[in-house]
Subunit: 290 residues, 4 copies
């Protein structure tokens, strides 16, 4: 069975104009430096004049130069030639992501449980909440908890406190039903690094109280959407979506209950993609190599 | 195995203010007149002051009075007491529904095939199209076909022709991807009797070209919605919905291809509910006893 | 919105030979004693000589006699007439079910979390495990935990200990991935009251290590099955099943990871049906009024 | 939008022992001969000593040598070095597959419809049936139809007739609910080229009448399985599977009705994979690059 040591796993994400020779150049470069490619996927919007996306996973133990030097050489010998946007990622150390949450516990618990089982390649330096109610879960899973209330007249201060906590300590943020809107300034600090779970099948039912909206409309499916946060509320690139069947017997209350399952699974799926460096953002969309 | 003879099957749909004794009154009434109840489902929005919905299926061979007389007696002895809206339906004769279609063949073929297999309790007196392209399917399944073009300057005349054809010959209409908007006057002739298939997960992507909209937005699911037609385009009571997973690899073209499967299955499901008298409309929603 | 007080909710489950007048007799009986029926579903395997199943939910505050007396009167006036097997259930007090678990935490945590949120009409008097590893979850959710090891040479004693703990303290048992086989004697104490989750789509992959079996066979779906436990291992009446898509990329390890999600959701769904008295066992099958 | 001309599309499927340098060698070889790679997926069972699978799609218009010469050169310069099993495929001409069918029309009609819309990269030289009932569909879609009855005492002759028809005229065979068992000799003529649809979730309910088996067992899901045919009945490598939810209300009759939808969709999906050269057989399993 495939048992790859995480300390040996590296990934290379590439976005560039399409053209001939890209795959051969990248794979030959890696081979020549002792990298053994274990996974490769590519996507092209159009072979003539389109955009090209590629994700490679490779093994590092036999590299003939340091990771830093590899990246530098890649830039000069390959990336510049093909006008690539590219990122090298390494399976270790795990990404550090803060979890922000308000009062709903389901997404938080799902993440903590999967994380505690080793299902997520994730380090959680701390949990932040504008309420104290969920501190007990943080304690049970031994994750530091910070209570930062967000009163109406100190929204800016609260956000600044969060930023101070996060600065240089996290690589990204998980909004696990955090019911406060983050400012444009905040969001711009973490481009394509803040994941939110919205409790509807976006773009249907944007805004507040989507389950009530779904109830009023009489839909036969409810959904959830995980997406990267941008300055436009509920509008960032979609990572994952799913739905559950509902009927006339469902009330707004049971819609919420059903929805919780969809939400936590969709968030976990999106998070998994993010942590395994499987997502390349393409404007307001995502390319996901799963 | 349950083999009920269709000529013996009757259904009673009821909508009234909730209150005590409704079920006992209705079931006792039916029993006293020799009707054997084979299925009963009810729904109550709130036992105190809410709305009550019920569907009963019963056997008619041992009725002690004619169907007409049964209905009349029910009205006087039960319905008026509880202020009921109610409808008696009989499994035979099958409902007669015209199929209206433009150029997309998938929904039409799905209906014709299921109908030809006896899966749908449906009579199709004729197919109407504003194009001639799909006439061959009508011929193959031996269903009369009427070509009624809808040029810009004779929309009203075309609609009138359709109405003339339908009048007293059909109980309802199936819009199997009929790409013309029906007027308010037309729709009011067939309240809760015109079923449309919309190629999106309503209320997302209302209007034209929903697959292109879905592509532009980068959603990870596409859907279809079957609904009763009201004067508000794409807004009538939803009967059935479903979705299919999509990825960044899908183009607007493959979205349509995937969508066709969802559309035809959702339309067939909704049609089945309608033909088996399983739907009670409740304002802009549906109560479905499946 | 439907807000029914649990202390007022009663349910009546009926199984008897089909015949005319059953529904009217039962509903008239209940009405005459002041019970307001809020839900009714029935199922008939065949109206001529088949089996009849019915579930009624009704409100008790206006009963004109005690619950005990109501049950007694029902027996004499209705049940005997129609040769009914029947059960009265009351929403309160909640069913008391022991949770038995070995080392896998996902089903246990799912139940504890849903229970802690009030999603399950359940009292958990204690958790029993043949291992100590999951005691911390019991402590966090403040549920008593009993460690009863099951060494090879004391299987009978261990089972007796479990029985002693359960006797008169529980109404049923949840096997949340308890990896010991219960004896016929044990199972007979709790007919249709022990729910097990099996990690395959039964009857495929009966027995040990179903994920390895699924891997070896190369199936494209894995499943889980919740069922009542009978003396035939993995063979009792099926309550709920679901599946997840898998691919050639999945190893036995990732199949387990994916399977955990299916298992916990299927178990929770089955448990919900059981707790809400929605299941009537019909030989080796279940009739479920959801 | 990606609009690739089919006459330019080639595919290379590779299976070999895993080792370093495979991807670079193959992609460099293709690039050096003017092939523009538009899609690449790989799978490795284990980077140390495992099996390696790869599918490449590339464009041929700028090849610097003939297709035949390209294949020859690849063999000498790359394939032998890495001990590869490999196959070159070209999108044109379409694969020619005979459709064999008995009395059930749903799978046949689904294939004919999708084929008539251009959804399948398929040529259908003829349909063969051991009954005459479905000839009208063949006529409607203008596909030659051969009636080859299979009486008990001339099974061998019938099979020989089929073989004679197929020889050199087809690349493979679709068993669209063909209810006769093919002999080992027949099957060996078309290794990994005969696709069958089995009406159960294999390996559950192997053999005859799976819907009755599913009914008797009381399962809550029914399924369908498309697989390559090998000499072991219902045992060849699985290509695609899916399921539908069922309830106690379903009879063996309605299970069949529900099952038909699952079957035709699963068969169509498997066929699509096969026609697009997305499947590599790995013993009794399939690797599918979708």
């Amino acid at each position: 069975m495939k048992v790859l040591k995480p300390e040996h796993i590296a990934r290379l994400l590439i976005r560039c104009p399409d053209g001939p020779g890209i795959v051969a150049s990248v794979t030959t470069f890696l081979k020549n430096h002792g990298a053994n490619i274990t996974d490769l996927q590519q996507h092209s919007t159009d072979p003539e004049g389109g955009k090209f996306f590629m994700r490679l996973e490779f093994q590092t133990p036999h590299l003939d130069l340091s990771k830093h030097k590899l990246e530098e050489t890649f830039k000069q010998e390959v990336a510049q030639l093909f006008k690539m946007d590219y990122e090298f990622h390494y399976a270790l150390p795990f990404k550090r992501m803060a979890v922000l949450v308000s009062l709903h516990d389901h997404c938080l618990l799902e993440i903590l449980w999967r994380w505690s089982r080793g299902e997520l390649a994730l380090e959680i330096p701390f949990i932040i909440s504008n309420h104290k109610e969920l501190e007990h879960f943080a304690q049970h899973f031994k994750v530091p908890f910070h209570y930062i209330p967000v009163e109406k007249d100190r929204k800016i201060e609260a956000e600044q406190e969060i930023l101070n906590l996060c600065k240089e300590r996290v690589d990204g943020i998980i909004l696990a039903r955090y019911m406060q809107i983050l400012s444009k300034d905040f969001v711009e600090q973490y481009p394509s690094k803040i994941i939110n779970i919205h409790h509807s099948f976006l773009p249907a039912f944007v805004g507040a109280n989507p389950y009530q909206q779904a109830y009023d409309k009489g839909v036969k499916l409810i959904g959830a959407t995980a997406h990267y946060v941008t300055e436009d509320l509920d509008m960032g690139p979609i990572i994952a979506q799913d739905v559950a069947l509902v009927t006339h017997r469902d009330s707004p209350y049971t819609l919420k209950e059903l929805g919780r399952n969809v939400e936590r699974n969709v968030l976990a799926k999106a998070l998994d993609y993010h942590l395994d460096d499987k997502i390349i953002v393409d404007g307001n969309k995502t390319v996901i190599f799963d």
